[in-house]
């Protein structure tokens, strides 16, 4: 994710100079994170692409005013959320709290056992632990880990308190950590595991 100062610079270039190059750079920098986020909400790759594109069209239309946005990164995530929810409600999908209900796609988190220095079995265990997390907890974990968002950013995006973000992330890490711990205990109990 790009640095805040860079975002601010691009924002200013777009607002002041209609700088299409800065616009492209902004799009390119945020495309992957925003697409991942949109996919978790609308659950369709195609629709998610449209959501992100719509959000950026809106940014260009309102470019003269984007300079007044204090945190453009958070703004973009919120815009993706709102656009996604609008999209779903237009399709008459019943969603009261779609962010909560969203089944997270966790294909984006990938593990390389060799790099992590853990066994394939443990990777499967970690993966399972993440999959078993409640949707909101999973989403918070993902937003902070993958998109490098701050607690208060995630709180603002999901419209929850920072305290909730904090406790949910701790729960996520604890569950993942416990799955690892369980694995160790088992490995130690089975001597052949040590000789590997």
């Amino acid at each position: 994710m790009i640095a805040a100062a860079k975002i601010k610079y691009l924002q200013e270039q777009i607002a002041r100079n209609d700088d299409t190059f800065a616009y492209k750079e902004l799009f390119v920098s945020f495309y992957n994170p925003l697409l991942r986020f949109a996919v978790t909400l609308v659950k369709s790759r195609e629709q998610a692409e449209e959501v992100v594109s719509d959000v950026f069209i809106n940014v260009w239309e309102k470019r003269k005013r984007i300079n007044s946005i204090t945190n453009l990164k958070v703004y973009l995530f919120i815009a993706v959320k709102n656009t996604s929810l609008n999209y779903l409600s237009k399709q008459n999908k019943n969603l009261t709290d779609s962010v909560d209900e969203a089944g997270m796609e966790f294909k984006s988190i990938y593990f390389d056992p060799e790099q992590l220095m853990v066994t394939a079995e443990m990777v499967a265990r970690i993966r399972a632990a993440i999959e078993e997390l409640p949707p909101k907890c999973k989403l918070i974990f993902k937003l902070i880990k993958e998109e490098e968002l701050k607690y208060r950013d995630v709180a603002e995006i999901l419209n929850i308190s920072s305290k909730t973000v904090e406790s949910q992330l701790a729960i996520a890490l604890k569950k993942i950590g416990t799955s690892i711990n369980f694995d160790i205990t088992r490995t130690i109990a089975a001597p052949h595991g040590l000789s590997k």
Binding site: A22, S53, S108, V118, G177
Partner: protein, 377 residues
Amino acid sequence: MPKNKIWELVAKKLSGEASIEELGELENLLRANPEMHYPMQTVADLWHHTTPDTEDAHTAFSAHAERMKELGMYIETDTEQIFSADSKTSSRKKYLFLTVAILFLLTTGYYAYSILSAPAAKAAASPLDDKSEVSTKYGSRTKLLLPDGTQVWLNSGSKLSYDKTYGNGIREVSLAGEAYFDVVRNPARPFVIHTSSIDIRVLGTAFNVKSFPGEKNTETSLIRGSIEVIIKNRPAEKIILQPNEKLITANEEMVKESVTTDEAAEKTKQLAAKEKYKQDPLVLVSHLTYSPADSTVIETSWMDNKLIFRSETFEDLAIKMERWYGVNIRFADEYIKPKRLNGIFENESIQQALTALQLITPFTYTVNKNEILISSK
């Protein structure tokens, strides 16, 4: 329960939210609970195990731009180039991309002698609309993307043109004014910049270009890599610039004109002193200038919206300020013209800039619309 507390602190540490006190607390807790060390470490490894971006954002942007067009959203025509940029090239850009930047300051006393006349003549065989031309007004700057992904920053009062067939063979552009180039490396298709007095050929890696009409010299400054400069009336000579070097070429027309040769003669003396090109009084190789404050390269400072001047005569500075602010500056008398000035303008308005200059050197000025008259009295 210490374990919950530990995970809460681990979460804060990994997400960069922990205070120094909290980090200390975590350390103490881990010391008291050594069995937590391994799972905590593995979670930390997992955390820092970042996911590579799977989507090609450049291709996605092309699709996005297409959609904007369909929705009737027109961004200025120049930007069509940006949007129609070959996405394949773009996606390969990160691998092939070697930032190339030429800094090149072109100065000619003749506005009429536009370097564009050269490509225009060449384009005679093909219809005129086969050319793409981008120009900036005084007081505005722009960025554009060429079809091969090469980026160009165009300073105010400048013009860049190239054939629609750009990139099919050799990559050629013509420049009148000042521009900074970030050239995508492609050894099979050399990148050549034509100006009225010189041609610059990009040999590879990184270089930075900048050019402006209306001044006495042509300047080519190399930030990184290697470029080859060919002086038009002496095609046999090729000058290869090394990083950190700046090539100053006295403009041919200026030298021919006897009235203005004073300065050229002065330059000639300086040039003669340089061993490298002492046989050639028209060419001077010197070094890039760094700002003492933050060691930024002064030659490229315009890109950061900074107008930096070092020991510049008021007369020369006035020319730069005209372009920068889109105004006309005239002097009521000769007295103040040779005054040498140092300074940086960043966000100042023209009024603020003039007020600041008044602190350095006493003068008065009157403003009439875009006309500024400077008087030493």
